[in-house]
């Protein structure tokens, strides 16, 4: 293992972007994304990074710039949160349809209203269907590592899709963690210079972004669906190659003490670490509890997820967002994934940690207590917003 350095996760993320030799960075300030782009602007200002860095007048333009630069063959990066993501959401759909391998970090923050600068996943859930490959990072090292994996994967000629790395705002973005930085030499081998398949240049004129009449629109959407589904082997391959290089192996679905577990959490993002503490505490008491962490949200890892839940009696799915009027989005997905199985676990859905509300290991234990009792009593549709002060 290399040397670990204590650094703010946002700074580590920016350092990774620098190491990827990104050509164009375009962003607009929004809390809690700011530290990432502030550090990038410093790196460019000090000549430590050769990139076009500019602050645009809105997030809509931030991503629009990346679409233009990526289409011209430049490795491009942007970073945003919450309202900023909502503003650029129109362009997220277009970037993926144009098959442009842009990488974006989202410092996840609640979506207004009421306005809140604190962490949950409601921002990214608003663009759940935008066609980008979407990762959720669990800790600072994960964020740093995924930047390299994201570019390598996105730019693979058989993938060519944009990638979002979700990094919990404040709880990840603003904390100082030990990060093992990777030598530039290794990165250069892992991530070769970007060679676009098609780019805008007068020597080979191409038309990008034409209009699709009803006779072709369905086919373009099918092509996009096939592309993202087919990216799964490449995702596994990328994480395997990264693991071989660093010793840190990542998987679409990570499990923790799930062997023989009767009750298993399903969680995305930084709550994975807190929940693992709760699992340890419950295991010490002899309770049969485990944890599933979804690292890959899109494409949804159906097969891996089904495999991970084999033999589990009940799932406690913790959503960090609410689809108002239709419960938690992760729980909906989980239920859909398991519907066709003969033996499927019961699902109890908690929406927790909205807008920065702290969820401690004790809370996770309380959730398991509640879910186990409710399911025992025959509640098949368990759903609640946890920790509401009444």
């Amino acid at each position: 293992m290399g040397k670990r350095i204590g650094m703010e996760v946002s700074i580590a993320a920016a350092e990774a972007v620098k190491q990827c030799n990104v050509d164009v960075i375009s962003a607009y300030p929004i809390t809690p994304q700011t530290h990432v782009v502030e550090h990038l602007s410093e790196l460019v200002a000090n000549g430590e990074m050769d990139a076009e860095f500019f602050c645009v007048e809105s997030e809509h333009s931030a991503l629009s710039v990346c679409v233009g630069s990526e289409a011209t063959g430049a490795r491009s990066f942007t970073c945003t949160s919450s309202q900023g993501l909502a503003l650029m959401s129109e362009i997220t759909y277009i970037a993926s349809a144009l098959r442009l391998p842009i990488v974006m970090i989202i410092a996840n923050r609640a979506l207004s209203g009421p306005i809140s600068i604190w962490n949950d996943h409601s921002d990214v859930m608003s663009i759940r269907d935008c066609g980008w490959i979407q990762f959720f990072a669990e800790n600072g090292q994960d964020v740093y590592d995924q930047v390299f994996c994201a570019y390598r994967l996105a730019e693979d000629k058989e993938v060519l899709l944009p990638v979002i790395i979700n990094m919990d705002g404040f709880t990840l973005s603003h904390v100082i963690e030990p990060i093992e930085l990777i030598d530039q030499e290794k990165i250069d081998q892992f991530l070769p210079a970007y060679k676009p398949v098609l780019s805008l240049h007068p020597d080979r004129p191409v038309t990008m972004g034409g209009i699709a009449l009803p006779g072709i629109f369905t086919e373009t959407k099918k092509a996009q669906e096939v592309a993202i589904q087919s990216s799964m082997p490449k995702i596994l391959e990328t994480w395997k190659a990264f693991g071989d290089m660093t010793g840190r192996y990542y998987n679409p679905v990570e499990t923790y003490k799930t062997e023989d577990a009767e009750t298993v959490f399903v969680i995305m993002g930084s709550y994975g670490e807190t929940a693992s503490v709760a699992v340890d505490m419950m295991r010490e008491e002899g309770r049969s509890v485990g944890l599933i962490k979804l690292r890959l949200w899109r494409p949804f890892p159906f097969e891996e997820f089904k495999k991970a839940t084999l033999g589990v009696k009940q799932l406690v799915v913790i959503d960090r967002a609410v689809s108002v009027g239709a419960r938690g989005p992760v729980a909906s997905e989980v239920k859909a994934a398991l519907y066709g199985e003969d033996q499927r676990p019961m699902v109890y859905n908690f929406v927790a940690g909205l807008g920065g509300r702290d969820v401690a290991p004790q809370d996770f234990i309380k959730m398991v207590d509640k879910a186990e009792i409710e399911i025992e009593e025959g509640n098949k549709e368990g759903y609640e917003i946890y920790g509401v002060r009444e």
Partner: protein
């Protein structure tokens, strides 16, 4: 610039077409004509970012294209931002040696809605940042692609589908937004107005804009027979009348200095321009007079600016 105009000048233009025939624009569409001339002015070493709108729809039905130069359409309001990305990418890739160094002109193109309304913010940002690109607004004075809805560039009194002439309202009740002045207020090196009824003037201005270092803005009045309720064969004449009546003066703003390209000792009566268009059919003589007064006032103000050289 128009002093160079003579009847033979058009023969000196390239016969090459970069916006090729076969596109689906309406008969008499002066916007398509403007785009074609812009293409001729720029040649092949260009990358175009188009906004959503008539020109995007008529030129790019998958799998066909009318574009013989690299072209990208992303959305309605962001042509200037997309062009910023293209320009920056060219700059950094040439600096890093990944794209051979040569002059490639970056163009952003949008209609009046995509410029004066929904795209104004992105345009202002790109002009302020000083990207080396040329922004071309093809202004047909309403949202023609969606069915002739009013924009902030629709002239006073014009009847559109969302500013209809009714029993109590007489069409558009606001005055046309002065986009060239807004662009010029960003202190960019070059702003110009043009009209495809004056092809040589238009082409020279586009060439000039492309050769200037930094942002340039060209506002092209583009007659739309469908939306203006005018005869397709009158598009060129209407463009000329817009200039000759003072409705759409041809001028340049170079480093802040105004220059009127065509001055007329006496402007033609505005009625000659308006009577050919169904969108003004409902206007009474007194309303036309009121409009004419405002047009003359603005024309005089422009002349003053040009005289003072500010």
């Amino acid at each position: 610039m128009t002093e160079n105009l003579n009847v033979y000048a058009v023969r000196t233009l390239t016969q090459k077409e970069y916006f090729s025939p076969g596109h689906r624009a309406c008969q008499g569409c002066a916007e398509a004509l403007a785009v074609r001339m812009v293409g001729k002015a720029l040649g092949r070493n260009v990358i175009v970012a188009s906004a959503t709108g008539c020109m995007e729809v008529v030129s790019s039905p998958i799998p066909f294209t009318a574009w013989r130069v690299p072209w990208l359409h992303v959305a309605f309001e962001n042509a200037a931002a997309v062009a910023s990305g293209i320009e920056s990418a060219l700059k950094v890739l040439m600096r890093k040696g990944r794209v051979p160094s040569k002059k490639i002109v970056t163009i952003a193109m949008a209609g009046d809605g995509g410029t004066a309304d929904i795209g104004l913010q992105a345009l202002s940002g790109a002009l302020e940042r000083g990207h080396n690109f040329t922004y071309i607004c093809t202004d047909n004075e309403a949202y023609m692609n969606t069915g002739i809805q009013r924009s902030s560039a629709t002239p006073f009194g014009a009847s559109t589908t969302t500013s209809p002439a009714g029993k109590v309202k007489m069409g558009q009740t606001t005055w046309k937004k002065n986009m060239p002045a807004i662009a010029a207020a960003h202190n960019i090196p070059y702003v110009a107005t043009a009209c495809p009824s004056y092809p040589i003037d238009l082409i020279q201005k586009v060439k000039k804009a492309a050769n200037i270092e930094g942002p340039a803005y060209i506002h092209i009045l583009s007659v739309c027979p469908t939306g203006w309720r005018s005869a397709p064969e009158l598009s060129i004449k209407l463009g000329r009348l817009s200039v000759e009546t003072g409705v759409f003066p041809l001028y340049e703003v170079e480093n802040g200095k105004y220059h009127l390209n065509m001055d007329f000792p006496k402007l033609k009566p505005i009625k000659e321009y308006m009577k050919l268009q169904g969108r003004f059919r409902h206007l009474t003589d007194s309303m036309i007079e009121e409009i004419e007064k405002r047009v003359h006032k603005e024309y005089e103000e422009l002349k003053e600016k040009a005289k003072k050289g500010v």
